[in-house]
């Protein structure tokens, strides 16, 4: 009996020992397994992330260097328009380009803007018009001025089926489809009115124009002078004495203005038809202490000009062309012609006069724009 109990007890102890060993083994094994799966999990996640990152980066690379597009819509262009502008003319500013770009996106027009630099604008203009013909463009927009060869070239292009739109000067005698820009007659009128406001009932006036227009334009044909004179007709004591032409750059205007004042000390009003001339004449008036003696009507909305208006006395008013409007209207006119085969003979763009009454507002707008572009 005792022996059998002892045996059972021993057996029990042995079983217990074995089961505890077994459970220790199992718990070790489970711990190892858990650790293994943790480590594997972390590694696999790292691997997946790295693989994904690798593919993503290489995908980004191909995407970033993918073809560029004209517009966000990624559409192809329906038309190709070449635009030839005068690089020396500061008025073809970012505003003009912005107008062109905004409108061309709407009508899906690819634009090729060639800014012609250097003194020999005419020859290069004609050359590039020829290039446009070779290129078989769908349309041509040019900064034009009166010249027989330019007109002949316009006619040639029209014959080849390429519509030409003129800016700056109308060239109504040519086969151009339309003219987009300010009405120079109106500019003349406005300038004359501003001059009268400043001079009163009597005075002698000089107009300073850039050289390029003198060579090819008959002064009597100049709409600007025509408009100017039409207003002066009512004021017999106010006369337009001189129309002077400057070479390129600010210095040329300074020399001409200085000579003008030396030779004609009785001049009481000067009208400049572009920005650089205006800036040059301002220098001469300030340097020779002629600010109070001479009334100046300028052109353009450069900050220096606006500052001079704000100071008072130096410059009475400045006439500004809306080049953004010109850009937009030029493209719109082309599209209208292409789609309806009919377009009005000219598109007049707005003209603004800046004087002491509104100079602050304009300056504020300008500084806001600067902040935006920055």
């Amino acid at each position: 009996m005792l022996i059998s109990i002892n045996f059972v007890l021993q057996f029990h102890v042995k079983m217990k020992e074995e089961s505890s060993l077994r459970s220790e083994y199992m718990s070790n094994k489970i711990n190892n397994k858990r650790l293994f799966f943790w480590v594997m999990g972390i590694l696999v996640i790292t691997l997946s992330v790295a693989l994904f990152a690798g593919f993503y980066i290489s995908y980004q690379l191909t995407k970033s260097s993918a073809d560029e597009y004209f517009w966000a819509s990624k559409e192809n262009a329906d038309y190709h328009v070449m635009i030839l502008i005068d690089g020396s003319n500061q008025t073809y500013s970012e505003e003009f380009i912005r107008g062109i770009e905004e409108e061309s996106e709407i009508y899906r027009v690819a634009t090729e803007i060639i800014s012609i630099e250097g003194a020999n604008y005419r020859d290069q203009l004609i050359e590039n018009m020829q290039l446009a013909m070779y290129n078989k463009v769908d349309g041509l927009i040019i900064h034009a001025y009166y010249d027989d060869e330019v007109i002949a070239m316009i006619d040639k292009l029209s014959l080849a089926g390429i519509p030409v739109i003129t800016m700056n000067e109308d060239l109504a005698s040519s086969q151009r489809i339309t003219y987009v820009g300010v009405n120079r007659y109106t500019i003349g009128e406005i300038a004359a009115q501003e001059m009268i406001k400043s001079l009163g009932t009597s005075g002698k006036i000089a107009v300073i124009e850039p050289r390029s227009y003198e060579e090819y334009a008959d002064i009597n044909d100049s709409l600007l002078v025509l408009g100017f004179n039409d207003i002066l007709k009512k004021y017999p004591n106010i006369t337009l004495e001189h129309v002077l032409y400057t070479e390129e750059g600010v210095l040329s205007a300074e020399i001409i203005a200085t000579n003008l004042m030396k030779e004609n000390p009785d001049i009481s009003g000067i009208f400049c038809t572009n920005t650089s001339n205006t800036l040059g004449v301002i220098q001469v008036l300030v340097d020779n202490n002629l600010v109070s003696q001479v009334s100046l009507i300028g052109y353009g909305d450069e900050v220096e000009i606006l500052d001079s208006i704000k100071k008072g006395n130096i410059i009475e008013a400045s006439i500004v062309t809306d080049f953004y409007d010109i850009g937009k209207k030029a493209i719109a006119a082309f599209y209208e012609y292409k789609t309806s085969a009919f377009v009005s003979n000219y598109f007049n763009t707005s003209i603004q006069v800046i004087d002491q009454s509104n100079v602050d507002t304009i300056l504020l707008e300008k500084s806001e724009e600067n902040v935006k572009t920055q």
Binding site: L43, T46, L47, A50, I57, S65, E68, A77, A110
Partner: protein, 483 residues
């Protein structure tokens, strides 16, 4: 084997893991290849147009040279070359898409139209040359040269534009390649770690049962069969191996236990035998001692018997008694050497011995017996008293002039029958007692003690007490249950 088929075998597992690792490496290779492919495409796109433009340019130059050659020399070879060049150029420009998406497309379109215009003008020039209209062909040639100039201008512009764009793209590319390189390093490291972890896990999984088995085997090698069974939970060959091992271990353990039991029994048996042999050996010694102390007992016995008869014939009863006593003593010694006897027989033997001594020494040596008559039938080994008495007489009393006494007391106490042999002789030192008890040379004493212990299977039955000058007292304790 049928059992094994149920489990995933080690071979299958190993193959599975190896395939996994190979798959991972394949992923890495595929990844690297696809990235490389992308870059290849990228670089091709960067330079494709440039190469195309260079080709157009060189074709144009060749065409112009051939045209000029024909116009100046009217060489038909030149014309032929020119026509081949035209075909080539037309092939080139026919690839250009008409769709315009950006400035570059626009320029490409211009180049196509300019090439067409150039071919037109050059054909005009060739036509007028054939008509020998010098002025006209020169004019058209001039136009063609002009157009060529435009084409080259556009190509230059395009190249410039692309160079600008490509140099920007190149910088991006370099940066991104650097980033990708880092990522690839990370991927390689992670893959190596994964491979390492998997290999480690598999190896650990495979080695663990082996370690358990080897540990258990080592324990068994040390002789410890009580180690718990090896436990393996993987369902492969190791499970079978562990089961077989456990079975083997348990079988060996059982076998060893059996062997142990057998050995124990044998050892007991041997012990018993050894004891018997020793007993016999001691008896032999005693017998030898007896024989040595009496020269030729049979001869002596016969001689003494002859003496007894002679004394009867001569009517000398004292001599007859003497010789009879002597004869009894010899008979006792000879006849009952290897058996046990009663205490009474032993005491009678001593009394005979005393009779003989009385004849020799008269009253000089006296024996005194105090015997408890109730215990005289106690069984004792033979010849245990005579050596003691002899010893008392030879070593204790024989040297004394005045003689002495030997007391033999037998009485019963609680669990023993005590036999005391005491003399009034010279006594012994403690060292002498030790010498006698440990050494066989002392003849009788030690032999008596050993035989007592063997006979009763007990120790502490034999005591010797003595002091120099005060005799020796030897006490024998006979266990009572031996009755």
């Amino acid at each position: 084997m049928s059992k094994l088929n149920k489990f995933g075998s080690i071979k299958n597992n190993m193959m599975l893991y190896s395939l996994g690792i190979i798959l991972l490496m394949a992923i890495l290779s595929m990844y690297s290849l696809s990235i490389m492919e992308r870059y290849k495409g990228q670089i091709q796109a960067m330079f494709e147009k440039h190469i195309y433009l260079s080709e157009v340019e060189s074709n144009m130059n060749g065409l112009d040279a051939d045209l000029l050659g024909f116009l100046t020399s009217k060489s038909s070879t030149r014309l032929n070359n020119f026509l081949i060049g035209v075909e080539q150029l037309q092939g080139d420009i026919s690839q250009v898409s008409e769709q315009i998406y950006n400035d570059e497309d626009l320029m490409m379109k211009n180049i196509v139209h300019l090439v067409e215009a150039y071919l037109e003008q050059s054909n005009e020039a060739i036509g007028y040359k054939r008509l020998r209209n010098v002025e006209k062909y020169y004019e058209h040639y001039e136009y063609s040269v002009e157009i060529k100039g435009y084409i080259f201008d556009y190509i230059d512009q395009l190249n410039n534009k692309q160079l600008n764009r490509n140099s920007k793209a190149y910088l991006d590319l370099v940066n991104q390649i650097r980033l990708l390189q880092s990522i690839t390093y990370i991927i390689v490291i992670v893959l190596v770690l994964i491979a390492f972890t998997v290999v480690y896990y598999i190896t650990a999984r495979m080695v663990r049962p082996i370690t358990h088995l080897s540990d258990a085997a080592e324990e068994i090698a040390k002789g410890n069969f009580q180690t718990p069974d090896v436990y393996v939970d993987s369902e492969d060959e190791f499970l079978l191996l562990a089961a077989a091992f456990n079975k083997m271990k348990n079988s060996i353990s059982e076998y060893v236990d059996e062997l142990k039991k057998q050995a124990e029994t044998e050892a007991k048996l041997k012990d018993e035998q050894l004891k018997n042999v020793k007993m016999e050996h001691l008896l032999d010694n005693a017998r030898l001692y007896a024989l040595q102390s009496q020269i030729n007992p049979h001869f002596m016995f016969n001689t003494i018997n002859a003496g007894v008869q002679l004394s009867i014939l001569e009517r000398a009863p004292k001599t007859g008694n003497f010789l009879e006593t002597m004869s009894r003593l010899f008979r006792y010694n000879i006849q009952k050497m290897d058996t046990h006897c009663t205490l009474e027989e032993e005491i009678n033997n001593i009394k005979d011995y005393y009779e003989l001594l009385k004849v020799r020494f008269g009253q000089r040596i006296q024996f005194e017996f105090h015997i408890d008559s109730q215990v005289t039938n106690v069984k004792v080994p033979q010849l245990i008293l005579q050596p003691l008495v002899e010893n008392a007489y030879i070593h204790g009393l024989s040297g004394l002039e005045e003689g002495g006494k030997i007391f033999i007391d037998v009485y019963k106490n609680a669990s023993f029958v005590e036999i005391i042999v005491q003399d009034t002789g010279v006594g012994m030192t403690r060292e002498r007692i030790q010498e006698i008890l440990s050494n066989n040379s002392g003849i009788g004493i030690k032999n008596v003690r050993d035989r007592l212990e063997l006979f009763y299977h007990q120790h502490n039955l034999f005591y010797v007490e003595s002091e120099v000058g005060h005799g020796v007292k030897i006490t024998i304790k006979i266990p009572q249950n031996m009755e």
